[in-house]
Symmetry: C2
Subunit: 246 residues, 2 copies
DNA sequence: CGTGAGTTTGAGTGCGCTCAAGCTTAGTGG
DNA sequence: CCACTAAGCTTGAGCGCACTCAAACTCACG
């Protein structure tokens, strides 16, 4: 597993202080001395798009943070039906301290770079580092909120609303990264394939594709390419998503 | 809100040491001195079936643990569509430390007794009590796992599988409470109404009712009353739920 | 220019929804 | 003690949305 020659090319990670996700990841509330320990423990590793990072049921050797790219959590039934149950972006944490295995596959949706820690070492550190534990609790609560919003989508929204909801999430995320509010005439990359999108939304590929076409024909979105979405009116999209006019 | 005369009838809670959920709740890893503090802070309060414990969006004054009964978390859309996003049993925790409001209603499904703490006091204690924080993290991770399993159900399972899955969960829970494995000829109370069940599963009341009838006609379950389920063969039910034959 | 993965479009079907009526059960007052 | 009521649950008929199966299109890559 941990063959040095294989890891070395990836292990050239910068100092934690220079890390682009320093202020959002699990380590964001660490003091300098705690960060120094993490700096020693960490290993970078890159996975290609489509590669499985962790297999459901397998023992989990390493925990870590997404530094670059997009990873998905996937539950699969015996007959092949699949449901995405998590969508991870840079600064999101992979792995559940205290658990030997995960009940879902973790799959790289794009090329993914992880900042990894050996599980046992990280858990030992966690037990003695309140700042880490506090941040992890907050991040887990955030994920739980997102999962519950997602449950509303899966259980009660129409195919059209599901697509619009997903695009709304991406648009908001993109706006935050650009440090602006979601406004008129923004555009963003929808990152994942139609297949991954269908798995996210609990739909088939065909329905997914049809609804995107319908939103395009209705002028809610424009397609610069199959993956790049242009948004003339964010509020219009949000309304299509069936959101509370909060 | 906190009118003494109203609370007094409920506030007669026993010592934490005698608490029936002492070993499973958020306080389960507390030492005697920590428990003594919680003992001072806690207030018992009972809600009637159907009563809303916390309204979505309202400021949350108190956090707490379900001691008795069953509470639900409900997201509602403007047009009235509803999706249950959490189902809480004794020992489960209500409230998200660090958040002023919740994005869903918390509603008593049956009569519910809570062991409550004033939010600010609890959060202050949490910040200085690693045993509390560690346990809360573990419980939140458990909830996240449950939410993800639920997402598979909502996104990919048929109505019949959804019903069977829910009954499987209840049967397992009931077996654990009786400290036995789910076996043949067990029976249990399904606790919640058809309406709540439909909200849980992302179905209508009618479809829910039809599928229960179908499972009965096929001999998978028997109905002692409309709420009491008899289970001739647990494995048969689990197979109907579309579970991995792990 | 050929190949194949990813995506779109088409035709037809069926599962779960809607609307509507009837049934069961527990609680209430004559 | 029994009608009366209302809430909860069941059953029926018909419809529409999303699924299935199938074919065509797009586009990056060799």
């Amino acid at each position: 597993m941990s063959i040095p020659s294989l890891l070395s090319q990836d292990a050239r990670a910068g100092r934690c202080g220079d890390c682009p996700i320093r202020h959002r990841a699990v380590c964001s509330q660490c003091e300098a001395d705690e960060l120094a320990i993490l700096d020693q423990m960490k290993t970078y590793r890159t996975f290609t798009a489509g590669e499985t990072i962790i297999w459901a049921g397998d023992p989990v050797a390493r925990l870590g943070t997404v530094v670059k790219g997009c990873a998905t959590l996937l539950r699969t039934m015996e007959d092949g039906r699949r449901q995405m149950v998590g969508l991870l972006f840079p600064s999101d944490f992979i792995g559940r301290p205290g658990r030997e295995t995960t009940p879902y596959d973790v799959v790289a949706a794009t090329e993914v770079t992880l900042c990894q820690f050996e599980r046992q070492s990280f858990e030992d550190l966690l037990a003695n580092t309140p700042s880490l534990e506090r941040r992890l609790l907050q991040m887990t609560l955030d994920e739980l909120d997102a999962a519950r919003e997602w449950m509303l989508l899966l259980g009660r929204k129409s195919a059209r609303e599901k697509i619009a909801s997903f695009l709304t999430i991406l648009a908001r995320r993109d706006a935050v990264l650009r440090k602006s509010a979601p406004g008129p005439d923004m555009s963003f990359d929808m990152i994942i394939s139609r297949e991954a999108l269908a798995d996210y939304l609990g739909l088939t590929i065909e329905t997914t594709s049809r609804q995107i076409t319908a939103l395009k024909n209705d002028g809610v979105i424009r397609l610069a390419t199959k993956r790049i979405i242009e948004l003339p009116d964010f509020e219009r999209l949000a309304a299509e998503a069936g959101e509370d006019a909060a």
